[in-house]
Symmetry: C2
Subunit: 212 residues, 2 copies
Amino acid sequence: MNAVEKTYHHGDLRNALILAAAELIEDSGSLNFAMADAARRAGVSTAAPYRHFRDKEALLEAVSQLAFYGLGLTAENATAEIPLGRIERVITLGRTYYSYVVSKSAFYDLMWGDMGARAIGSESFDRKASGFFQLVRAVEAYLDAQGLQGLDVLDVSVKLWSMVHGLSSITLSGKLPHFHPGADVPLMIDESTRTFMEGLKSQHSKGGDPKH
Amino acid sequence: MNAVEKTYHHGDLRNALILAAAELIEDSGSLNFAMADAARRAGVSTAAPYRHFRDKEALLEAVSQLAFYGLGLTAENATAEIPLGRIERVITLGRTYYSYVVSKSAFYDLMWGDMGARAIGSESFDRKASGFFQLVRAVEAYLDAQGLQGLDVLDVSVKLWSMVHGLSSITLSGKLPHFHPGADVPLMIDESTRTFMEGLKSQHSKGGDPKH
DNA sequence: TGTACATCAGTGAACGCGCGTTCACTGATGTAC
DNA sequence: TGTACATCAGTGAACGCGCGTTCACTGATGTAC
């Protein structure tokens, strides 16, 4: 950022703008940054961004992709040393998701608002690298290890994800202390995951999927 | 709305504006309606709203309170005939929450964004009428009926709420089909709730709260 | 190796529009006497 | 019951600002010959 030489032609303005926008979003805590500010931050005139992005929406979409990419990467790093098949891997993915969402709170709208929908649908969205895919793998391995066959892995994964996403979303809203003073979310993620898995086992041993 | 007489003094402009704003939000699907439109819709000049609300934010906060009130009311109606102590009561609350959030999707930001935080903190927010309080009552009764003493009812309630809130939030984002094609959310709410409760029972019978 | 020229990433200024909010005002209401 | 007057909910016009986007341009780059 400092080492970049000042030339008439920037060289990597597209990425510089994406980063500048990301920073502005994090700093201001909303998506309402001014296009001109992003340009200024990238050291470029106000019209320059339009050489690389059709409009502001296109820039936001690019930032959104970055956000998802960062999530996938973070999740991968956090679980690298936890073997597949252990519940800790599932729990760690949940906790990582939570910290990522909370620490990059300004990205939330970007990821789960309209922009996010487009980013996920886009071609450059790498399914295999996505956080959700990692969760599915971890859940599948755990269910296998526990002898819980015949379950819909996608379904179970979404349910677990929902728990964590819900806790993250409520935390972000700032209302969690109002409903549950002193709540320890990482602990709750740990407990919820175990309780849910325990429930699956219990239902399994009581004779298969009750609603199938 | 039609029966209201046209006089110079509106009579109930405050409420008319709240309703107008709510309609605009629902119609446009966002909070970016114009103050002037709300005034127009209430049949009044552009400056009139400022007699009743300091600024747009104040109006949004009022709409937010209405949204929470509506949720509480809907939840109450939906569960009126289901006895306390039955799991169906908990499940119905979850499903009602889901339909409310999805059908009033434009209210989501209002309820869980910054506005919502303020609305819940406000004096006129009736805790006892809130959807969450109803959930707590239903959960408490169910746990009692199942002989699951010693659990933190608030904690369990928040966890269940999170599951449902997460599913609602992900549904709203439009991404659920992408991750879980053909997902049946009401069914998932039913299943998740039962699985979670089953897990609690199982953990309970295995000897108390493992992390306490 | 040099020159002409196409290409394109930048510049800087300004446009234009949406929209929240204010201002000086006017008409209706209610109450003191 | 009538009149003067304070009060306040409305009006209509306009202000002003933020900001996305465009326009005619200029400087750098690379390539054909």
